[in-house]
């Protein structure tokens, strides 16, 4: 029984910001030893604060993404440092980078070079737009990828301007795909001794993320149409969406119209046929919205849940974290330095996985690593 399935693996993370480092965090939580290779200036995320929140000299944001890792500084343009890095690659199982295309080749640290040093290395690179093509040199920043990938036309209503996701979905989803690729490659290494090169981009990850919408678009040739109101999902009919009640909001997911009308005691909804759910989506949502405004969330939820229909009150974070259902998950952990954050969402053998080592100071592990790996 092990909660650390990746124990013993050494991963070198030549990454900044979120896409690569979020993958490094997951691998670390699953038991791998993750060493951040940082320039003497460090991961730029160290200086990128949100809400002006800092832990020592580094941003809280950096601490959130890089807990449970070690830090080794090297100037990759210095030949002595580069030699040390190559020695480290010899002992590593995985290396991940998210430099723009061409940078690692110039440094002599591309896959071909790494493979000569370590035949079984799993080498993964993350770019914004892939290694080739007219966009390959463009900055791989999340909002820009959301803009180019069509994603901004999936949320909100038809009269809204393009609506971005309010989180860095491109970085997160690409990081998640990266972890899958690395782990699958490690399985082959174990069986054959043969390493692998993995290439991912935020753009391809965001296209994969929209695979349902894109497949539907390829089939119908029609652009996804957001609802006129109560937008939930461009491809889904009424009632799917979030509605205002007398005292808050409730979300209603896929629910057959007759069942909905019956549960809410709404004759007007009963008059629609299920085949109208998409064609008359705006009209039906309008009828429902007028009705739901008249009573409290609790009143409607009680009726919907009694009929086993899919509904949920809209909850803000304050309400969420004070609820027993949230507390039962034991999702929070305090990492050293008194910083409260969330844990890995995966449970293995019934055990939750915590990783309470705080993020490293820049170069904190240089000495230890040089000695341990015989770099000097």
């Amino acid at each position: 029984m092990s909660q650390q399935p990746l124990k013993g693996l050494v991963i070198l993370e030549f990454c900044q910001y979120l896409s690569g480092p979020s993958a490094g965090l997951r691998l670390a939580d699953l038991g791998a030893r993750v060493i951040k290779i940082e320039s003497p200036n460090g991961d730029a995320c160290r200086k990128l604060a949100i809400e002006d929140l800092w832990v020592d000299q580094d941003s809280l944001l950096f601490h959130t993404i890089n807990r449970n890792k070690e830090s080794y500084t090297a100037n990759l343009k210095d030949s002595l440092d580069l030699d040390k890095i190559k020695k480290l690659i010899r002992k590593a199982d995985v290396m991940i980078h998210n430099f723009r295309p061409g940078v690692m080749t110039k440094l002599g640290l591309d896959y071909e070079a790494a493979k000569l040093i370590n035949e079984s290395i799993v080498y993964a690179e993350v770019t914004g737009y892939g290694a080739e093509g007219p966009w390959s040199k463009k900055p791989g920043q999340d909002l820009l990828l959301q803009a180019r990938s069509g994603l901004m036309y999936t949320s909100g209503t038809q009269s809204d301007p393009p609506v971005p996701f309010g989180l860095a979905i491109g970085d997160i989803i690409c990081g998640a795909q990266l972890v899958q690729g690395v782990l699958a490659a490690l399985i082959r290494v174990k069986k054959t001794g043969k390493g692998a090169k993995l290439e991912l981009s935020l753009l391809e990850s965001l296209l994969d993320f929209q695979f349902e919408l894109l497949t539907t678009y390829h089939t119908s040739g029609k652009l996804p149409q957001r609802s006129e109101s109560h937008g939930g999902h461009a491809l889904l009919g009424a009632p799917y969406g979030i509605y205002e009640t007398a005292d808050g909001h409730i979300a209603i997911a896929m629910v057959p119209l007759k069942s909905l009308g019956s549960a809410l005691d709404a004759q007007e909804l009963m008059s629609y046929d299920q085949s109208d759910a998409f064609a008359k989506r705006d009209e039906i949502k309008g009828v429902l919205a007028d009705l739901l405004k008249t009573r409290s969330s609790e009143y409607w939820l009680d009726r919907l849940r009694k009929a086993d229909l899919w509904a949920m009150p809209l909850t803000n974070w304050q309400e969420l974290v004070s609820s027993p259902g949230y507390k039962a998950q034991q999702m929070e952990q305090v990492v050293s330095g008194d910083l409260k954050t969330t844990r890995c969402p995966i449970r293995i053998n019934g055990e939750r996985i915590y990783g309470k080592q705080s993020a490293p100071q820049l170069g904190a592990d240089n000495r230890k690593i040089e000695k341990e790996f015989g770099l000097v």
Binding site: M1, L30, E51, L53, T64, G133, P134, K138, Q141, L144, A147, R148, G150, M152, S155, V163, P164, F165, G166, A176, Q180, G181, A185, I187, R188, A196, K197, L198, E199, L203, L207, F209, F211, T215, T216, Y217, L223, G231, G232, H233, A234, L235, G241, A251, M254, F278, T315, N316, W317, Q318, P324, Y326, A328, Q329, C344, P345, I346, R347, I348, N349
Partner: protein, 380 residues
Amino acid sequence: MKLLEDILVIDFSQFLSGPSASLRLADLGARVIKIEKPGSGDICRQLYVSDVKIDNDSTIFHAINRNKESYAADLKNADDLKRIKQLLAKADVVMHNFRPGVMKRLGLDYESVKSYNSSVVYAEINGYGSEGEWKDLPGQDLLLQALTGLPYLNNDATRPPTPMGVAVVDILAGTHLAQGILASLYDRLNSGNGALVQVSMLESALDFQFEVLTCFLNDGQQLPKRSEFNHAHSYVAAPYGVYKTMDGYLALAMGDIRVLSELLMCEPLRNYPDPKTWFKERDAIKAELANHLATDTTQYWLSVLEPADIWCAEVLNYEQLLEQEGYQCLDMELMVKTTSGSSVKTTRCPIRVDGQLLTSDIGAPGLGFHTDIINDEFLI
């Protein structure tokens, strides 16, 4: 050799969360057999979207289930159940997304399967974990978005709370499940032991928000505030947002207001020289920028900003995206053939391995199409 060659995955899951995980395992080389209820199958087959169908199944079913086999079995029928157990005895991975307790009642829970397949990796997704007051609620994407506060992060503050328009919680929970499965398969090669992997959509939705929730948990629990205008991220200063131009929309990421003021020749921005004000004054700054950017075309602004390495992009819809060389050169589209011979255009796996795209022209299976073939092959 494919990365997951010779790995057999038996997948009882429906809809999106579990099936998106097994799709990725199939892309990476595993063999995935869907176990479906005779007659109706995976409920996703009937989840018609935009009223578009392929082979009488929904388009999204085809997107999610390409490159898989379908085995029809009634889990309440003793003969079928016996055959399923014979199949599970050969499986490397078993996965499901039933509500808590269902697999136990069927005698197909981890402890039961482990008794005859000791090294199985058994993976389950549910909505809210197996403890707590919410455990029996339906695990559906929009409901999880609502419960975890996600709609308060999107769209302008003047607009209602707005959910993300892709089933992001399902998809992320699927990636987390695949991660747990793969890590456990790796561990099994060392230890010989199987594992139980559990993911809930609730925990996945919280993990998705780990950066901003950590902020919330350490700032005295202040709720996020969306921008009044041109909103993109509650925690990022101006100019971060999407702006209307004379002929379209322009996304502007993090940038220096002083530099923008000069490059765009936008006088009013000169009133904000201090970077410390760019968060607090973001609505005022965005309003000035919005007025200014509306006066010329997207291409014009790009021609000014991109050479100066300002992070910006034109906003594209699918039709415009598909015309771009930057999209076409990715070769992201995949043609597959369903078991009834229909061609479906979909997207491929986003991971390249050893310089190769991971593609397969095998489409989604008809319900129970492979039942007899699998019975013969596994002698069951």
